[in-house]
């Protein structure tokens, strides 16, 4: 169990200083650190690795102290025996892959070094790359080599800072599976930083959300990211619609309330929240959670049916993103097949269907 309780302030000229203030513990297996860029994710990993020094607090691995400001203990990165895969990977450009992987094995006998390199190369499927230099590798190959270089040292903690960004989903899944298989035997705490929602779903274990240098929430991805509590998190968790509104009616017995969207004539029903009548709230709705109908729908359980007109349609990969003006402008994601069979076109009259519980409050 890795326990972190630190505070570090970064002075900036004029602007309010950025404060990293984190209390968290990390069990064996994956913990995803999720949050928008600038949330302090990489700084947290740097502090755990010993590359940056917190102003106060402590970092422990089990009973072993890595850092303790009060006791003036600060173990050097060399002696923390953890591994860190940086966002830019930082493979040594002048060394072939094999030398890169062996770099952290300096103290072992040559035969043991060779054995470990062979094992890790097989586990990450890079046996045929060992004599190449990093510049001769593809993006995915570099990422495999960086993971192998980190894991071959049998670290006690693995820090991964967006190690798989820029890879397509299938390649990412295949690398993640290799990583998971390797860790099944090692049982190391793995801190996995990302701001990509798909990666969170692919790992699917514990998530810790960070924003503005602080831990927001922690739990399973479903509960944490499907109901984000801050605007920054909502945006990076893939909530395309962020609406400001005023509470106009509480229906306590139904567990819902009605809110009026700002600046437009439009009311929607949302789950009952801790908000006074007349107070302002912000609501996040995923573009994929909104249904489109070309006729006024009846006999539906969904409580919000809003008429509107299509402003534009834009194909994005397998999806079509529709901008619909229904009082406020909503972004709606539908499949290409749905767009085709409904014969959607700009200017067309449509109805938006939004379930009450697809609306999430954010701060």
């Amino acid at each position: 169990m890795l326990t972190v309780q630190i505070r570090k302030q970064f002075s900036s000229n004029g602007a309010a200083p950025f404060v990293l203030d984190i209390s968290a513990s990390f069990a064996r297996g994956f913990t995803v650190l999720f949050g928008p860029s600038g949330a302090g994710k990489s700084t947290l990993l740097d502090c755990i690795a010993g590359l940056q020094r917190p102003d106060s607090g402590e970092i422990r691995l089990g009973e072993e102290i890595f850092f303790d400001a009060a006791k003036r203990i600060d173990i050097s990165p060399q002696r923390r025996e953890l591994a860190y895969v940086f966002q830019m990977l930082a493979l040594f450009p002048h060394l072939p892959v094999e030398q890169n992987i062996r770099y952290g094995l300096g103290r072992l006998a040559a035969a043991e070094q060779r054995r470990r390199v062979e094992m890790i190369a097989a586990a990450f499927r890079i046996e045929n790359l060992l004599q190449r230099r990093p510049a001769e590798l593809s993006g995915g190959e570099k990422q495999r080599v960086a993971l192998a270089r980190a894991l071959v040292t049998q670290p006690r903690v693995l820090l991964l800072d967006e190690p798989l960004t820029g890879l397509d989903a299938s390649l990412r899944r295949s690398i993640l599976e290799d990583l998971r298989a390797w860790n099944a035997a090692q049982q190391t705490p793995i801190l996995y930083v990302t701001h990509n929602r798909e990666e969170v779903d692919a790992i699917g274990e514990h998530v810790l959300t960070l924003a503005n240098g602080r831990v927001q929430e922690s739990g399973a991805p479903g509960t944490v990211l499907d109901a984000p509590r801050s605007v920054e998190l909502a945006q990076s968790a893939g909530f395309e619609n962020l609406l400001s509104a005023t509470v106009v009616e509480h229906r306590i017995e139904d567990g819902v309330m009605r809110i009026a969207l700002e600046n437009v004539q439009c009311e929607i029903e949302v789950p009952l929240g801790e908000a006074e009548l007349g107070s302002r709230v912000r609501v996040a709705i995923r573009a994929g959670d909104i249904l489109l109908a070309t006729e006024a729908p009846h006999f539906l359980s969904a409580r919000n049916v809003l008429p509107g007109t299509i402003e534009s349609l834009e194909t994005r990969g397998a999806l079509v993103q529709a901008r619909v003006k229904a009082g406020a402008t909503f972004l709606v994601h539908i499949t290409r097949g749905a767009a085709r069979s409904l014969g959607l076109a700009p200017g067309q009259l449509v109805w938006l269907v939004i379930k009450t519980h697809s609306c999430h409050f954010v701060r």
């Binding site: 060399q78 830019m88 930082a90 040594f92 770099y103 230099r133 510049a135 040292t153």
Partner: protein, 224 residues
């Protein structure tokens, strides 16, 4: 053309550039990677020979190396002979004179390294010395070469400092630039011309090598 003067200059330049490299590597490391109070003072002392007239530098070197100067006294007590107007004196003065040319390319090369590579090395368990030998030096070697060559070429061409501390003793302190000056004074333009041309060619070739390496015209490994 004076072969003796040319050989002396080459010997001086080689000695100075190698000694300087040994001294400049740790100094540049400290300047590039560590933060400490008073660093700016050391930086300005290192850069001083760039702006100081060689005669001023030579003047103070002469005072220090004289029989009553601190360096001269120390040398006399250690080796039993004076330091001024000797080859060793010339070397010492040249070390100071060419210091910025050795240090600054190294600092620039060290500072341009990706810091994450040093972080990676540390996390993988390598101490400062191992990181220096296995990551910093191999990646900064164009800077090392530039440092070596610039201090060599700069020492080869020095005139004012040599004149002040070396005097003009054939085979001991009469370097090639002094030799050219002497020949011009004696109206031996042909002799001066031969030596000057040779010096020009040497410096041109040496600098071309440096620029070619830095432009990666010849690169030992592909760019990142």
């Amino acid at each position: 053309m004076s072969t003796e003067a040319l050989l002396l200059s080459l010997r001086l330049a080689a000695t100075v550039s190698l000694l300087l490299l040994a001294f400049a590597l740790p100094l540049a490391y400290v300047l590039a990677f560590l933060e400490w109070p008073g660093k700016f003072l050391v930086e300005s002392v290192v850069a001083l020979p760039l702006v100081l007239p060689p005669t001023v530098l030579g003047f103070y070197a002469l005072i220090a190396m004289g029989s009553r100067g601190p360096l001269g006294k120390l040398w006399q007590s250690l080796f039993g002979h004076p330091l001024a107007f000797t080859f060793a004196g010339l070397v010492i003065a040249s070390l100071v004179y060419s210091l910025p040319f050795a240090v600054q390319p190294l600092v620039a090369a060290f500072e341009s390294l990706d810091r994450r590579l040093l972080d990676a090395s540390a996390v993988l368990g390598a101490g400062r010395a191992r990181t220096f030998l296995r990551v910093i030096l191999p990646l900064a070697w164009p800077g090392v070469l530039t440092s070596l060559v610039l201090s060599f070429a700069h020492t080869l061409g020095e005139f004012g400092v040599v004149l002040m501390v070396g005097g003009n003793l054939p085979g001991i302190t009469r370097t090639v630039s002094i030799d050219i000056y002497d020949r011009v004074q004696a109206l031996d333009y042909a002799g001066a011309q031969q030596t000057a041309l040779l010096l020009l060619l040497i410096c041109f070739v040496v600098l071309s090598v440096v620029y070619a390496v830095n432009r990666r015209v010849w690169s030992p490994w592909p760019a990142r």
